[in-house]
Structure formats: C-alpha cells, structure tokens
Amino acid sequence: MIAKQQNQKAWFMVLPVFLLVAFSAVIPLMTVVNYSVQDTFGNNQFFWAGVDWFRNLVHSERFHSAFLRQLLFSGIILAIEIPLGILIALSMPRRGWGVPVCLITMALPLLIPWNVVGTIWQIFGRVDIGLLGYSLTALGIDYNYTQDPLAAWFTVVIMDIWHWTSLVVLLCYAGLCSIPDAYYQAARIDGASRLAIFRYIQLPKMQRVLLIAFLLRFMDSFMIYTEPFVITGGGPGNSTTFLSIDLVKLAVGQFDLGPAAAMSLIYFLVILLLCYVFYTVMSNIGMESTNHGGS
C-alpha cells in the first residue's frame, strides 16, 4: 500500500514535462491535424476540405518519388555509417595519449552547425574553386553536383557520412569501453580469434548503443533538410528533393498549408511506425540474449 501511495505522488513530478510537451509538441500537432482537413487562402479563414488532401497525396507522383528518395538516402547512409562507425571505434586506442586526440578529432564534425556543413561541402565540391571538385575534374572524372544527379547524390551522401559517422563511432566506443577486461581474458584463455571476440563479446555488448545509434541516425537522416538544401537546393531538377525539402516547398514556397499538413502527418506516421518496429525488434533481441545469458 505504501509503495502505491508513493507512486501516485510521483506523477506530479511528471506534470512540468507534460505541460512542456503539450505546449511544444501536442498543441502544434493538433493544429496540423486541423489544417490537414481544411483549405485556406490566408487571413485565418478556413474552408472544409475533408480528406481530399490525403487522397491527392497518396496518388501524387511527386510525393511517391520524394518518399522513395528519402528511403534510399536513409538506407545508403545507414549501410555505410553503422559498419564504418563500428570499424573506426574498434581501431581506436583504449588508453594513452591517443584517446583524447581521437575523441576530440571525432567530436569536431558534430560541433559544426548544419548550414555551415552544407556551405563547407558546397564550396569543397565546386569545380572552379573547391578542392574536391577541382581535384576530381583534374583526374578526368566528370563531376559536377549542380548538373549531374549522381554527383549531387554522391556529394550529399559523403557529406552526411563525414558529418555523422562520428556519432556512431563515439557511441560504439562508449559501448566497447564498458566491456570488462574479464571477458577478453576469458576469450584469450579459450584461444578465441579476433573475429570470434568481435562476434561473441563486442557486438552483443554494443547492441544497446548500436540500437540508439541506428535510431538516431535513421530519424536524423529521414528528417534531413538543411545540408542538402544548402548544397543542391533539391536539384539538379528534383533529384535530391527529399521529403522535408518537398514539404517546405509545399508549405512555405507554395503556401499550400492544407496539403502540407496532410503530408506532415503521413511523414510523421511513417517515422512513428519505423521507429516502433526498430525499437521493438532491437529490444527483443537484447532481451532474448539476456535470457540466454541468465539461463
């Protein structure tokens, strides 16, 4: 009974957070839901549109292609950043002067604001004055991110890898540092190979941080806006127009608030579903391995 009383009182501690989330997330989300079923020409006058915006959107070629581009982008950067991050974390020193040097070097890209990263790569990739663009052209490679969709994709993907692999590295490194030496000693006694140590000790121990890294990188890449906007502006043509860039074009460029609200909600539902699936799958794998370890 006493424990139950304490639990009830503890709910009041959640109240400030609840109010803050209501103010900053729930009420704006409700407004978006209200916008999504109406049309407006400004002046805060709204006209009922029903589910027309949703119906138009699910049949819109423009939305389908932006959605596929977004999935492709997230897939590519996850497929590169996660293995690369693990590899770099494994090769970082665990003690000595190399530790702070590596950690600070790794943390540097994370400290740079998104629009600055975009600007850096926008200049870096330019054929006339950028080191990357100029060097590639000098080597005889046809590279121009303002005209060639493949070059634009290459630049945006490399930029994201440069900016965010460090996050995966730092998380994996934290996971690796938390493994007690006893595990490695046991592995040495058993004569385990480097690969076996990675597969049966390091990878399972990194699972939790990898889940966080995966979710963070997925959500961030699925919402990416500033960097591709600064580098390519969504071009050439529409080749790097990801969902968020398309959404802003719809909401701010064309001022179509109703369709933009409907698009935001579908975007939100996709993120919600994917995160729920990833979270459930990854935490269940974790629980199974814990159960096996315990039994």
Binding site: V33, Y35, W48, V51, R55, L272
Partner: protein
C-alpha cells in the same frame, strides 16, 4: 482564450476527444487491474494493453491511408469499420 489560430473543426475535435477518452479509460483500467496485463501474442513479443492500444491506433491510421490509396471512390466508413475489427483482433490476439 482565443483558439481561432488552431482552426478547430467539429470532426477533428471529436477525434481528439475520443483519443483523450481512450487514454482516460486505459488509465481507469490500469488502476483497476494494475500491471498492464503483459503477454506474448501473435507478434511474438511482449505487449501490455498500452502497447496494444498504440498498435491499434497506428494500424488504424495506416488502414485509412491505404483505403484512400486503394479505393478512393468508396466511403471511408468502411476503413473505419475495418479499423475497429483490427483493433478488436489486436486486443484479442496480439
């Protein structure tokens, strides 16, 4: 308090009131039968009744969107009926 900027409509207000009532009902249920009734169902992972409500609501949203994509000429009330059946199935078997 002026709420004009939120552009409320009767259907969206009804929607949020229903969601709010569902949350209140879940809270009452939890107080009556604490613990969330965890079990491993059709999806092979442990769900509490809160998880089952979440899966029902999210699935219902997808059923409505898929209905709009596949049968744009038919009434959305059909999607609503399917969502209701889906929610019952989730609470029974998931």
């Amino acid at each position: 308090m002026n709420l004009n900027w939120m552009a409320w409509t009767v259907p969206t207000a009804t929607f949020f009131i229903v969601i709010f009532c569902l949350l209140v009902a879940m809270t009452v249920w939890e107080i009556r039968r604490p613990g969330g009734a965890p079990r491993v169902g059709l999806l092979r992972f442990e769900t509490t009744r809160g998880d089952r409500l979440f899966i029902s609501l999210l699935g219902s949203a997808y059923i409505h969107i898929l209905w709009l994509a596949l049968f744009p000429a038919l009434s959305l009330w059909w999607a609503f009926a399917f969502s209701f059946l889906y929610a019952l199935a989730v609470f029974r078997w998931v």
